[in-house]
């Protein structure tokens, strides 16, 4: 059997559900959701200690989607894990429904932090990781940042903090797909050398291919073994990954597929409407 076939299958299911829910909602962000499918799959289906039947379990590992606009990938994973019914996915962004455009911890089981305004997730992750240390608990905290998002000053306030307080129970993924709303990172506001920046801030830095499960799992293992400092896994990804006409296209950051595009996307992913 192909290595990690099981996880690849889950990632594909997430992708299909992302496409379907965005087609249904007519509003939302496909590009940055599709780029994070392997990362979110690895976390929710292997790495994290969670109890979907008990979403508020005190000793659970936490996940903060700092790039909150990628909510569809989180919702797809939570539904797949059984936090709520899959039918909810098709009510994304509709008035009076549970799944908000950006994650809402008060309204959606399994969402550990409300996010959406960029740059705020890392500080919240720090607070949770620090709370674990203060309470002598062994849960871990995971966060997913966007590469455009690190242009926010608050990210670097938080980066400094996590290293200063030696938060080795914190692991951050940087979804490095290179694109943001107005174009390529390097044209809008260059963030490179991004690995050197985190290193300089005192972090354990690991660079991987963000679509390769082997590398993701290995990086997570290393992060868990690293003591006295937080880890950032800089994951090179492709925005819109898995749907050929969306890949590496700035325009698919916040545009949803119409019926025809949806059919095409699902056909590529090996699924039906």
């Amino acid at each position: 059997m192909e290595k990690h076939a099981e996880f690849k299958k889950i990632a594909t299911t997430l992708r299909k559900n992302i496409i379907k829910m965005l087609n249904e909602s007519g509003s939302g962000h496909p590009g940055g959701s599709l780029s994070a499918c392997e990362i979110v799959t690895a976390l929710y289906f292997k790495e994290m200690r969670i109890k979907p039947e008990q979403p508020k379990w005190e000793d659970r590992d936490r996940f903060i989607l700092s790039k909150g606009h990628a909510a569809p990938v989180l919702y797809a994973a939570l539904a797949e894990k059984g936090y709520f019914a899959k039918e909810e996915l098709m009510k994304l962004r509709k008035a009076g429904q549970m799944l908000q455009g950006h994650p809402d911890m008060k309204g959606t089981p399994g969402v550990d932090m409300s996010t959406g305004s960029l740059g705020q997730g890392l500080a919240a992750a720090n607070g949770m990781a620090l709370a674990a240390k203060l309470s002598n608990k062994d849960y871990r905290v995971y966060a997913l940042l966007g590469d455009g998002e690190v242009q926010e000053g608050m990210i670097w306030e938080a980066a400094m903090f996590a290293a200063h307080y030696k938060l080795d129970n914190l692991t951050v993924f940087l979804d490095h797909n290179g694109l943001q709303i107005d174009g390529e990172n390097k044209e809008v506001m260059n963030i490179e050398p991004i690995d050197k920046k985190w290193e300089a801030f005192g972090w354990n830095v690991i660079k991987i291919d963000g679509h390769n499960f082997e590398e993701i799992f290995e990086a997570l293992d290393k992060a868990r073994e690293t003591k006295d400092r937080p880890t950032i896994i800089i994951a090179k990804t492709v925005k819109g990954k898995g749907v050929s006409f969306m890949e590496n296209k700035v325009g698919w950051h916040g545009t949803t597929p119409n019926d025809e595009e949806t059919e095409k996307a699902l056909a590529e992913l090996g699924g039906e409407m």
Binding site: E58, Q120, A123, G127, L130, A131, A132, M154, A158, Y165
Partner: protein, 315 residues
């Protein structure tokens, strides 16, 4: 009223008391712990004190994470930076998910004094009041400040507590003072008009009431320590009983207590209102007392406002 105490000192005392009885209380500061008095907590509970450095956005964001994991964080800085610099973090990371974060900001208002306009927060009540889920408290003296901090720790949700730098007269008696979030306190009764005051202006209101009594004008004096949720009943009753209201606050007349009281009145029982406060202007350097005079925040200013509002009463 001979004794004086700064509300920030009361905050430091309250934190120590809280630290002893509640292990979940965590205190955060942004490099101002000596001024905010959070260092008093730090001395006794160093492991539960967190300095984030000069980084107010991270101060609030970290507090949000701590609260989401079950802690009761008290995040402190100067009012200008805590509410202004970190406004959007407070809105989105704290208030929207209704996390149990207490923001206790010192050096509020114009009485911060010599540092000048850049440090004089006269918009903080307004900023905090517009955010859903946020409780906004502005204590009048040290006794009330301490009680408010202890009560805020019991309340589950975001609270903003406004504290001052300067020593202010002690109005209340610690032995019999009871603080209830959202409940105004009638300090004196009268029939000609009502002075509704908050924070450091409460003692000025009491002084004004005395001066007015000498001229035969009897005013009701109400202390509104909770700007939000505001005590509608006590305000409407004052309008019904006295027919005219003066508000007094060490804050802009736009968006603070005066606005909050006016909103209640126009929706329930409209009467003439005069607002004593900072008149849509920035401050300047100077000592507290000089600034209170220059910006129209003295007992005499309240007296004048009462006379004016009485002249506007409808027959």
């Amino acid at each position: 009223m001979s004794k004086k105490m700064a509300t920030r000192d009361a905050y430091g005392e309250a934190l120590k008391e809280l630290g002893r009885v509640n292990k979940d209380v965590v205190v955060l500061d942004a490099d101002l712990s000596k001024s905010t008095r959070t260092n008093w907590f730090k001395e006794e509970f160093p492991e539960r004190f967190i300095n984030v450095g000069i980084a107010e956005q991270n101060l609030i964001g970290t507090a949000a994470g701590l609260a989401a994991a079950g802690k009761i964080p008290f995040a402190s800085s100067f009012a200008m930076f805590a509410t202004g610099r970190a406004y959007e973090i407070i809105r989105n990371s704290v208030a929207y998910p209704k996390l149990n974060v207490k923001i206790a900001a010192t050096h509020a208002g114009i009485t911060v004094g010599e540092d000048g306009a850049s440090h004089q927060s006269v918009e903080d009540l307004s900023l905090m009041r517009t955010i859903p889920n946020m409780v906004v408290i502005n204590p009048a003296d040290g006794v009330e400040a301490k009680a408010a901090v202890l009560e805020a720790a019991k309340y589950n949700g975001p609270v903003y507590i406004r504290l001052g730098r300067s020593k202010v007269p002690v109005i209340f008696n610690e032995d019999d003072y009871k603080f209830e979030i959202g409940k105004g306190i009638m300090l004196e009764d009268g029939t000609d008009a009502t002075i509704i005051a908050t924070g450091v202006m409460v003692s000025a209101a009491l002084e004004a009431s005395k001066k007015l009594a000498e001229e035969g004008i009897r005013v009701r004096v109400i202390n509104i320590h909770t700007i939000k949720p505001i005590d509608k009943d006590i305000i409407v009753k004052a309008a019904q009983d006295t027919g005219a209201i003066v508000t007094a606050e060490e804050h802009s007349i736009i968006g603070g207590l005066g606005s909050a009281v006016s909103e209640v009145l126009v929706e329930n029982y409209p009467v003439p209102v005069e607002k004593v406060g900072i008149k849509d202007t920035f401050g300047e350097s100077g000592n507290s007392d000089e600034l209170l005079v220059k910006y129209g925040l003295t007992a005499e200013d309240i007296v004048e406002a009462v006379k004016k509002v009485i002249s506007r009463k409808r027959g």
